[in-house]
Structure formats: structure tokens, C-alpha cells
Symmetry: D2
Subunit: 351 residues, 4 copies
Amino acid sequence: MSGSTFGTLFRISTFGESHGGAVGCVLDGAPPGLALSEEDIQKQLDRRKPGQSSVTTPRKEPDKVHLLSGIFEGQTTGTPILMILYNKDAQPSAYNDIKEMFRPGHADYTYLKKYGIRDYRGSGRASGRETAARVAAGAVAQKLLSQRGVSITAYTSRTAGISCTTYNPAEIENNPMRACDPVAAEQMVSRIEALAQEGDSVGGIVECRITGVREGLGEPVFDKIEADLAKAMLSLGAVKGFEIGRGFAAADLQGSEHNDAMDAHGFKTNNAGGVIGGITTGEEIYFRIAVKPTSSISKEQDTVDLDGNERVIRTEGRHDPCICPRIVPVVEAMAGLVLEDHYKRFESQNL
Amino acid sequence: MSGSTFGTLFRISTFGESHGGAVGCVLDGAPPGLALSEEDIQKQLDRRKPGQSSVTTPRKEPDKVHLLSGIFEGQTTGTPILMILYNKDAQPSAYNDIKEMFRPGHADYTYLKKYGIRDYRGSGRASGRETAARVAAGAVAQKLLSQRGVSITAYTSRTAGISCTTYNPAEIENNPMRACDPVAAEQMVSRIEALAQEGDSVGGIVECRITGVREGLGEPVFDKIEADLAKAMLSLGAVKGFEIGRGFAAADLQGSEHNDAMDAHGFKTNNAGGVIGGITTGEEIYFRIAVKPTSSISKEQDTVDLDGNERVIRTEGRHDPCICPRIVPVVEAMAGLVLEDHYKRFESQNL
Amino acid sequence: MSGSTFGTLFRISTFGESHGGAVGCVLDGAPPGLALSEEDIQKQLDRRKPGQSSVTTPRKEPDKVHLLSGIFEGQTTGTPILMILYNKDAQPSAYNDIKEMFRPGHADYTYLKKYGIRDYRGSGRASGRETAARVAAGAVAQKLLSQRGVSITAYTSRTAGISCTTYNPAEIENNPMRACDPVAAEQMVSRIEALAQEGDSVGGIVECRITGVREGLGEPVFDKIEADLAKAMLSLGAVKGFEIGRGFAAADLQGSEHNDAMDAHGFKTNNAGGVIGGITTGEEIYFRIAVKPTSSISKEQDTVDLDGNERVIRTEGRHDPCICPRIVPVVEAMAGLVLEDHYKRFESQNL
Amino acid sequence: MSGSTFGTLFRISTFGESHGGAVGCVLDGAPPGLALSEEDIQKQLDRRKPGQSSVTTPRKEPDKVHLLSGIFEGQTTGTPILMILYNKDAQPSAYNDIKEMFRPGHADYTYLKKYGIRDYRGSGRASGRETAARVAAGAVAQKLLSQRGVSITAYTSRTAGISCTTYNPAEIENNPMRACDPVAAEQMVSRIEALAQEGDSVGGIVECRITGVREGLGEPVFDKIEADLAKAMLSLGAVKGFEIGRGFAAADLQGSEHNDAMDAHGFKTNNAGGVIGGITTGEEIYFRIAVKPTSSISKEQDTVDLDGNERVIRTEGRHDPCICPRIVPVVEAMAGLVLEDHYKRFESQNL
């Protein structure tokens, strides 16, 4: 029960460390008869992979997915699908510093306290590389959801002190920030390049909008749609906050302002963000997440070694000064996993 | 798979509607040999019950818990514990308006779309009364956690535009807001009384601090402590946001500011909020939630009836102008359920 | 994770000890809109209750079920259904012997070793009374299955050395043995009455036939229909064996004898018992279980007390000399829970 | 929820078809710090692999396992372990007959009815090759159990009409039948060779004995040890029956004969087979399973094709005339998975 499984009827079990043999997942619950190729999945993985621009790490990893089960003659068979991405060989010598010291912001210390043993190479199981498995499975969810008319769009809305002021979805994939405002995106890039120069990193806000979801999805008590989305998002190592609809702003509103009134055409407003009582209203679902700054920086930081001696560490290597553009496809994937699972649950509940 | 189960090794399955026969839960996973009485649980339920002050509903409900299994001669036996609170009879005529119309902000519309049938009495399964079952189970978790040296304290930190400016935990149970600042609490009460007079309600922010948690709790990937806490909190109908540690503020920080450096005495800061990579650091866990304004208000609101005709509704009855003070024990209960579950998972993992 | 939950999409969580406050279950997964009354359930409970004839215990227990949630105006709402049977007061003095000694064949010793604490009154959680909760939930499954055209019939086929030689389903409920052969039933009754006179008990074989099940139900690997049926049956304390189709007799057959050939009308034989590779063929499902003799007998037996001293025990009280007729409705209930769950799983799997 | 997951705290999720890219599993719940090599696992896989003798298929498959995650410097890290066995290329032309016709005794027909699509190559997901994944995971369980002092021994006790008459565990691995009686083993081999010559196959009985298990393992209600063992065994495609302790023979006994009395040294008999009320007594656990004859035979059989036309089929290829010797390590693996899981559950339950 190591917490590597997500979902109920559409479920993934992930495995893999950054520098072990492979990362990937077993996807259980894809329906039979779905046309599915490695290209369908690679497309999404390529959006997450490193080396895409100056604001992300220049490391080059092919992140090539292989589908080794559950597919026959180009179609799913209804049995578990193994999706695997082999790791390239790492040079263990590259990790001598990490081996002996705890990197601030990383899970080095907590893993050692938990397990008493630690695969220190590239963060091991705590590596962001683990999210490639999620993106792979999410690509299947998104393919199924698109057949249902559901569309999921995430984007960077703020970073390095700069917020988007327009929402132009067509521009998201046209700028390295995956921001919804191309003008803000340019400013973000310059600021991040300057920070990277100093050996520092920065956090940001990513938003997600989901349209086309039917009414009535979600479970009343613990497995509310927003609860499952919150869990999905906070299960990303870099995410420190989640809000849906008006979110924290709702705390300052009055009932008469926040309640979404109805008329003959439906809801007059959508302060709720598309869910009431855990169940979808049919309106757009929208939520935001807080992304912390990348932990790996090349500035000097105080830390201790395994024996508790005070040390200074500089995390060398090629890191992401801002993880937002690469987290965007992960957010979409996780939202897709939550929604496809709830569609299946909805469909299993009626007479 | 109706989403009424929470937890893995320390697990509850809840049942009950606001005006059916009873609400409650089956708690599975309490260890044998724990001294447990109905009084242990009633104490927490009394903090959640209605009728405590002018800022909450004046309805009087005894909310008396009965333990009908799993206890023998005052001790738990290791078998499931049924905790049940019987409902008092409701007058069905009180619900004539609700029966025909969808109340803005309530789950009336979504339940009907989900199930095609709706127990409209007092919100049915969507009623806040369902959280009494959580508080009952949480009381057992909190008793176990206190034996582990863990202490959980939630409190209102902001409502009606007023924020606490001091943190005085000894004052929390001494004011009707369960605010951590008695001066702010007084101002909150006057503002809320005024709003209630107008037939309106207001939201707020509730914070929670957890001390004494050991290092190494939590699972690396999906079942991160912060992910399970986020799910627990967003599973409360009134909650629209969650942030841990620096939360949304982290989005504007740089890595060199946000990373928690270490020295020979441990962590020098706690921006992370007590969890890194999903696993506890041993530092204080602190998080905040956004509470939306109570949906039930007596002001007139636009809505439609079951046939789609436009109508005006005023939700009569005795409602909570601000739910924050009553959600405080629920937040503690849910946090307790998450932590006790993760302690058990931790203990089951080692050789 | 105390093992009190059964099923996935149609799932029960049971609670209760023989002499605690109540026994019962929460049924999660019944569809909304099903007409359901306490009478629907009581009918099945009455077949399991004690005091029906000379071959079962003369104890009188009303075993009255109460539905306290999940029902509104006579219909299920899709939310969890609490089914509860209150226990009558027990006289603790009746258990003085059991308190100090381990009864042979009972779980007294194993519970103490497991939990370190033991509710010794009437076997506590290990009591056969726990199966009343299963029968209650099974009644809902059977109601749903009958709407699908599925019929489940269990019956005593052998006990006390006497086997049924005809299969007459119309006679099953007309004799106290619930045997499918009324002539054999009469002989069984005399033999059992004689054994009861001596203070002894006897085991037997119960068979079950299920017709009307569609093709394609069941999961390929671990959750094969026969695997779930086997688990369901062996989860009954008195059951020591399970076989499906030709069962143990298949061990002596050759492939050319055992394989079910097909022709244009379908399968020519049904040696498989209605399942191949874990998935239903559409043919009748039939299986048999071995029921051990009732552990409670009034003959003297050797045992030890809590301090390990050798003692002689006679389990006084009114016990079932043969449990077969009362286990018949429990077998039907458990088979119903397995099948309804698999129908739901089947329905959730396709595009 | 395709039923490809087994276990709770020590849990495997399997994947793979006979002729897809690979078969294998993700093992979740192995403790950190266990020394584990591919050789540890290969040893058990070699006992299951084809081509070992004249009574099993002469096909040669290397069945080489690869551990691609969860291991660091020769030790488990506590994270999921991917165990994978790559498939060799198959010649699709070899499956032309199977593609069009349903093989009697095989799951061809049921899979098509379930999924509407069928990977017909070598039985696809229904192939016995899937059990290699179970053996791989079981090897880890057995390594952990041996550290606990638990020993699991399965063996062929009857096939082709011949029963073992002695129990000599040292001889089991010394004869191609894995029978516990070397004299019987020789007779079995001759009979099976003769049957194979005729193009036929035969079933058998496999027994399993488990020693060294502590008292108190197992859960009272649904997850009884014997229920989980029964499910584990019936989840093997060739198994049609399970009995524990005296099993079906208990049906003819009286309570005074079957109850295991106690004296100062413990239990005087072990008719129960090491479990009472679902919980271990500390005595030897012993059970037996019925294995049906191998479905693939080269004798002519009647069947139909996809269009329902009557056809005659001979399943060419190299098949196992008797699967018993190869199922022995699978039985041990499944028993190991059940027991290690229950040890972990036991350990997670106490204060």
C-alpha cells in the first residue's frame, strides 16, 4: 500500500525511479476496442519532456513510450496496458554530492527517514520523471474524454511576478511558458532567464479549464470531483495549493454574492467552478494550483550531511528555472484521469 | 463505489441523510484494547452541534452518539465500530418549497441530475449533518494520535473581512468564532450578526496546525500527506480551496527563498509546512482552507423549479450565518483520520 | 482493513457481534430508484433465523431488519443503505464457561491470539449471527438479479450420510432440511434428531445452481467468477470446501472427456459449471460446498482454560445439530452479492 | 477494475498476454532493505517454465525476469518493483485455426463475449503464461516468509488415477511429477506419456502444506485465511476445487469427531487444517486443489467457428499433457502472497 495507485475504475499503478531501469505504469480499466498507438501517447509526453526551451532544463531525454500489453492489432483489448519508458544509463559519479548531503527543498531527508534507504540518483522515486507515467496514462484518458466531448486546457497564468491579463487559448502552445497571454509570456521568459543566470528558480500559478463535462458526475461524500482533483494536484511534488471556482476569494464573499442563481437558461453565474456538493453542474470546471519554485538551484545553500555536519551545497546540473510549462501537460493528464474515472463510476451506478 | 469510504488501514464508511433514520459510520481499523466510551466521542460532537451561539444556527439537535459494535467492557475489540446518531422526526411539510425548487448554492440540482431521484429533506445526503459521522470517527483517531504525542488545532483565522492578528491557542474555545485572536473574534461576531439580520451569510478561512508528527509519514506518489489532506478538506461541501506551507504565496517566491535550509539543529525554516515530497519532515504541519459562505440565506434569490420555470426562493429556516466555528472540529477530525491512517501505513511498511 | 468489506461496485461493510448492540451492514452501490422495503429483506432473513424446526436451534430471535438510510419514499436513492438488526439483551452469566475455556471447533482461541481481547459472549464477531447482515444485503442483490432474469437456488444435497437422489426444486422450501429430495429429507431429519439426542452434530453438502446469467461476466485473472464465489463461500465459518462444475471429479478426467464441445446450438455439455477462464459461458453455474459439523455440541470435550489447565467442557445451550438448512439462504445471498457485483463491473467496462 | 490486482498491503498488479510484448507485475508493499536479486526470482520461475520433462510441454521459453524498479544496490527501496518477462516473437500464422474457431475448454468464447475483441494468440491474457508474474512476485513473498520461519510445500498427490501413498518431501523436486511419492511418480509418468501419445491430457490433485505460521493471522469475516487461499487457488484457470483441513470429508463427520480438542500441549488433532474462524491456530495449514485436464489436446473435438458453423478442431502445438508439476510452484507462490499479505495486515492492526 505504497500509494502508487490512483483511480478506481480507470486506474493506474505507477513504478520507477529516475535512474533505475524504467518508469511507467499499468493502466487498468481502459475499455476494449479503443484504437490506441504509441504515437497517441508520445504526443503528450513530448510536451512534458525536458529540453524544450530556455526556461526549462536543457537536458535531452527521449522519453519514448512502449506499450507492451493490452493492445492487439492497434486496439485495446480491455486488459491492463503496460506503458514503459526506459531510463538511460546514468553516471553514478554525478551524484556524489547528493549521496552525502540533503538538498534543501528535495525529499532526500524525508525518504531516508521513511525508508532507511535511499536511491539518491536524481531524486529516485521522488523525481519529477515519475510524472511521465501519469502523462502517458492521461493521454488515454484524454482520448476517451475527447470522444465524450470533454476538453481540458491548462496553462501558466502567473510566474516571476507577472500575470496573464488576457486568455487566448490558441496561443498557449505557441510560447515556451504555455501561458495564455503571449505578451505576458515574453516578459516571463526574460525574467526567468535572468533568474536562471543567477542560479535561482521561481514558482507560479497554473490554471485549468474543463469544458463539455456532463451534469451529475462525482460522488456525494468523500469522492467529490473537487476532492479528487485536489488530491490529484497536491500529489504533484511541486504543488502547494489548489482552489476551485472562486476559491480563496469565496472566503470574503456573502452568500447572496457567491450562490449561483438560475434562470430558464440555466446557471446565471459559475462561482462554484462547475461543481456543487461534489457533483458537476454541467458548467465549466476551472481550478488553479500554486507551484513552488524548483528546488534544484545552483546558488549555495546551507544543509547538513548524513552525519549531521553542516555543509554548503550547490545543486549542479541542468535544472528547470521554472517548472510551469512542463507541469501543464501533467495537470491536464491528472485532470483527465480524475474525470474519466468519474465517468466510469457514473455509468456503473444506474439501473 | 459511491464514495462513502475514506482511509485505507484506518477507514470509515459513512451513511445517512439529514432526515432519514440516522447518520453515522462504521469505523474499521481501530486497534483492539483501546479504552473507548461514548463520552470520548460526544465531546467532539458537542463542538460541532448546532445551537452553540448567535453566529451559528439556533436549531437544537442533541447529536447523541451510540456505539453499537466493536466495544466490549469499555474497550475496542479490533472489529468494526458502528457509530450511529439517530435523526429526530422531521415535518415533511417544512420542505414543500425545496421539493419543487433548486436552492442556489445547494446540491439540489446536481443530485437530481446524478440520481434521477432526490431526498430533498434538509439536503439529504448532501447535508452538513453527514459530517457528524466524520467527527465521531475523528474523535477515535484523535485519541490514538494523542497517545502518539500528536496534537491537532484548527481555528477560524478570517471571516467577514476580519483577520486574526495574533495566535492565541488558549482562546480558541473561549469565543463563539473559534478564532485564535479574541479581539478579532468580537469584531467578527458583530459583523456576522449584522449580516444574519439582513438574511445573508459569509465565508472565511480556517487554519490548522499539527504538532508532534514523526518524520517519514506519507507515501511518495499519489498518497502524499498533503494530497490526502487536500482531498479530506475538499471533501467538505463548503470548502473551495486548500494550501499547505506557504501555499499560493510560494508561487511568487524564488527557490533560494522557499527552500528550507538545514543546520545541525534541523530545518532552519518551515516554508514547506511540514511535508516534502509527500512525506513529513517532523516540523509543524500547517494548512489553510477557504470556506464558502453558507448557501442557505433568507434573502430572495432567483432559481427555477423542477419544470424549468423561473421562480424566486427564500430559504427559510434557521441557518448558520457563518459555518467556520462549526467546521473547526470537522477539520480536526478529518486531519486526524488522515494522520492516523498514515501512521498505520507507516508501521505496516517496515521489515 | 479488518476484512469486513466485500465486493467492489456492489459492496457491503458489515459490523456487529452476537451480543453487542446490533449486527448489520452498510450496502454501498445499490442503484437509485429501486423499490425496496424492509419486507423484501425480512423474507430472506426469516429463512435464516433460528427456531424453524427440530433440526435447527430452538432459540427464538426475531431478527427484524431496519433500513435507516439510503431509502426515500420507498425507493433507493443511490446512497449507502444502513441495514441493522438490534440484538436482544443477553444474560452474561450464561457465558461463564466460555469466558474461561476455549470451546473446541470455535474461534475462541484464535481470536484471543489475534486480538489479545475477546468478546466471548456467543462467539462475538465470529458468531453465525454475523451472516444475517449478509442475507440482508443479499436480498437486495437477489432483487436486482431477478430483474436481470437471474435465479439462484441453493439446497442441502447430503447430510448425516444420506444423499438426495432426485432434484426437485419445488420441494426445497417444503422440508426442514431444505433438501431437493423430500424422501431423503425425511431420513435426514430422523438421523439428525437422533444425533441431537446424543448431544452431537453433523455436517453436510450444500449445492447451488444459478440460471439466467449472461455470457461474459467475470474478470480474467484474479477476480474470476469462480474465485470470487470460492472466497464468498469459504468466508462462511462452517465451510471447508468448494468445487465448481465437475470439481474434484475433474481431476480424474481426460481433456477429451472434460472439455465442453460446441455445436450450432451452443455448448454440448457443461462440465465447466458455467465458467471458463473466470468468465461466464451463459450455461448454468453450479457449485457445491462442504459444511463442517456444528462446533457447539453438548457432549463432553477436552480443552484448556485461559491458564492452559486441562478441562472438560460441554457447550450447553440450544444449538443447531445441522446447520445446512440455515446456511442455504446465506449461500444464495453470497452468490447474489458476487453476481450483482460482477454485473456492475461488466457494465462499467465497455465503451 | 479489471481484476488484475491481488492483495492489500502486499499487493501485485499483473499485466501481459501470451504473445504481446511482455508479461509481468508491479509488486507494491515489499519492505525496504530486503536483499533481492533477479536470481532469487529466477529460481522459482525455472520450476514453472516449460520444457522440463516428458510430462510437460517441450516448448522452450527462457522466462528470464528483469527487475526494472524498486531496487537500489541490490536492496529493495520500499517503492514498487516492476518485474518483467519479455515475450519472444510469435509466428501469427501459427494461430490461424484459433483465430477462427473456439477451442473447447479454453476461454476463447468467453473472452469474445466479454470484450468483443480477442487476442487469440496463445490464449492472450488467459494464457497460463500469466502465472509467471505470480511466481515472480511469490518468490519475494516466500523470501520474506522464510525469514519469518514459514515454509510452503506443494506437490502432486494424484493424477491419471494414481495416488501417492507416502509423503516424502525430499523427493518432490527429484521426480518430473513433483509428486511426494517417487514410486507413484514413476507410474504417473508412464500413464501420462501414454495419454500424450493418444493426444490426450489428464487432471490431478495438488496438495499444499504450510508450516511455521504464527497464531492469530487472518481476518474474522470476509478475509478469512481460507477464503483468501480459496480465491487465490480458484483464480488459477485450471483449478476447479479447493478444500482445507478435512474438507469435503468433514461433511460426513460429527461434531465430536471433527472438533479439535485441546490439552496442555495444544491441539490434539488438526482436522481444521490450521484455521478456525478464518484465523490461524499455529498448526500446519494444509489444503488440496482439483486441477482439470489441460484443455489443449490434439484429439479431434467438435466446435464452432466465429460464424457459428460446426467445425472440427485439433489443437496442434506442444502442450502439457498434465499441468500438475508446473502448477506446483504457482500454488506455492499464491499461498505465499496470501500469507505475507496477512502477516502485514496482522502487524498493522495492533496498538
